[in-house]
Amino acid sequence: MKLTFRVLLGRILFGLAVFLVLAGVLIPYLWMVSGSFKTTLEIQSADVLKPELSPRWFPRKFTWENYLRVNRTVRMLDYFRNSIIISVGTMVFSVGISLFAAYALSRFTFSWKRMYTLAVLSTQMFPGISFLIPYFMMFVLIKHYLGLPMQNTYWGMIFTYTSFALPFSILMLRNFLDSIPREIDEQAQIDGCTPSGALFRVILPLAKPGIAAVGIYSFIMAWNEVLFATVLTGRETKTVALGLLEYITAQQARWAGMMAACILVSIPVLVLFSLMQRYIIEGLVAGATKG
């Protein structure tokens, strides 16, 4: 194509537009990274009204302190341990439970299939606050009548988050299993496998990408949840999402420490997501368009 003025102008405008979009997306991240390398003193003494103290993109004094001493003011390492235990637990249970349910939805025909799918879909619609109060009461009463502590325990949180992750996991895994030809497990059953035998010996190896995507989705969901965590976790089980809020108290604002912690909290999520990006995105888009 001849590079006419018009084409050139079009390309420049296009490049400019892409640049603007990227700038809009990336500026908060740059600010986060820059803040994480500043000293607390530099951030606290900043003042937008005084040009010499105006907040800057490049730290005046570059420091690793915020990363090295991440556990000093806020017990961030404990919160990391709590989040890892709860998220991994959620991942394991959510994968296990959704695999069976998804297999039944994908392979069996039964009269209440449509009704069940609808019910699973609709549970995703209700805001968490719809069940938070009775759910909290249930925890209190289980402790009161059965003596089994639920609030501020790992299993209480894992059970809660597993149930939150299930609707999406089941539907996503069902879509994935639907894409595996039925003939394969029919053949396995002819060869003498039971349905669950076919599921474990034949389907499981084929469904690995779908299972990984569901597991990662569940992990991230538990890692990020805030609302139920504010009520149901306590000192021993507090997760990273809530821990970040502790950097700002009525007495002190430790923004530099918080920005460093923010980066550490994001890393597992970003790494896991990029591992299974394609499948999770397909699932999310299908969730919004197909159900």
Binding site: Y29, P134, M138, L284, A288
Partner: protein, 299 residues
Amino acid sequence: MSSRAKGRRAFRFILPALLCMLFVHVIPIFWGAYIAFIDLDIYTITRWMQAPFVGLRNFFTVFSPATDVGVRYLRSIWNVVYFGLVTIPAGYFIGLLVALLLNRKFFGRTLVRGLILLPYITPDSVAYNVWRFIFQARIGIVNKYLLALGLIEEPIIWLVGDRAIYAVMIASVWKGWPFACLVLLAGLQSIPQELYEAARIDGASSFGLFRFVTFPMLRPVSATLLLLSAIWNFHAFNQFYILLGADPGKAHVPSTFILQEAFTNFHFGQGAAMSVFLTVVVLLMTVAILQVRKRGEEW
């Protein structure tokens, strides 16, 4: 195999998932509806059977413009509606524009697509804490650049008072538009190229292509996306709680307000009444979306 045996076999496979749904979704929804009719507080919580039944009183209280709770609850409902009316269209239009932009082939497209997903996959707790830092009055960059551009004389207090909800809107749109973009990009890619060719042969301009091919073809996916966003808008909690704290004052939304009423002031009954109203609204909207979907695709 008989249909009952088939049903039983499926039931065995689905049972664990059913139990989870039962304990976390079904029982709490109905129980919550019951709590809304009793006067439950911190003292009666373990003897909830004895908490006095008060009929519709909780509902009258939370909807009455004469009580403090009522005023604040009604305001929180208005806030979440207002919030949705601004952020959903804004997110949709930014998403659509960027989707149209990225639907072209260019060098580095995969990288750009990956980067624009960042806000969507960043944990809410991280993203909104960073925005909280950005919106700080004396140390934040928003005020720095507004001052530099001469748009304001004094640093603005963003996160308290009347402006708080706008700060939350900005952060939420930033976080939310990539999802709309993703869905619309998938929609754009499913449009058959022949339609464009045919339209071009008929002499359509590039605006005509958008108006008569792209836009109608994106309609079903847009309808579902917008309806889902409208429902999920009632979930709004993280952005308000993280940016504005446990008590957003005038900028409460139902989730933050119910949390505060129930777990700071221990008005469980009134909190449940407010939750029940939300549940009913969401239920009605879900029925609406299922109707729209039924017309589209059979699943």
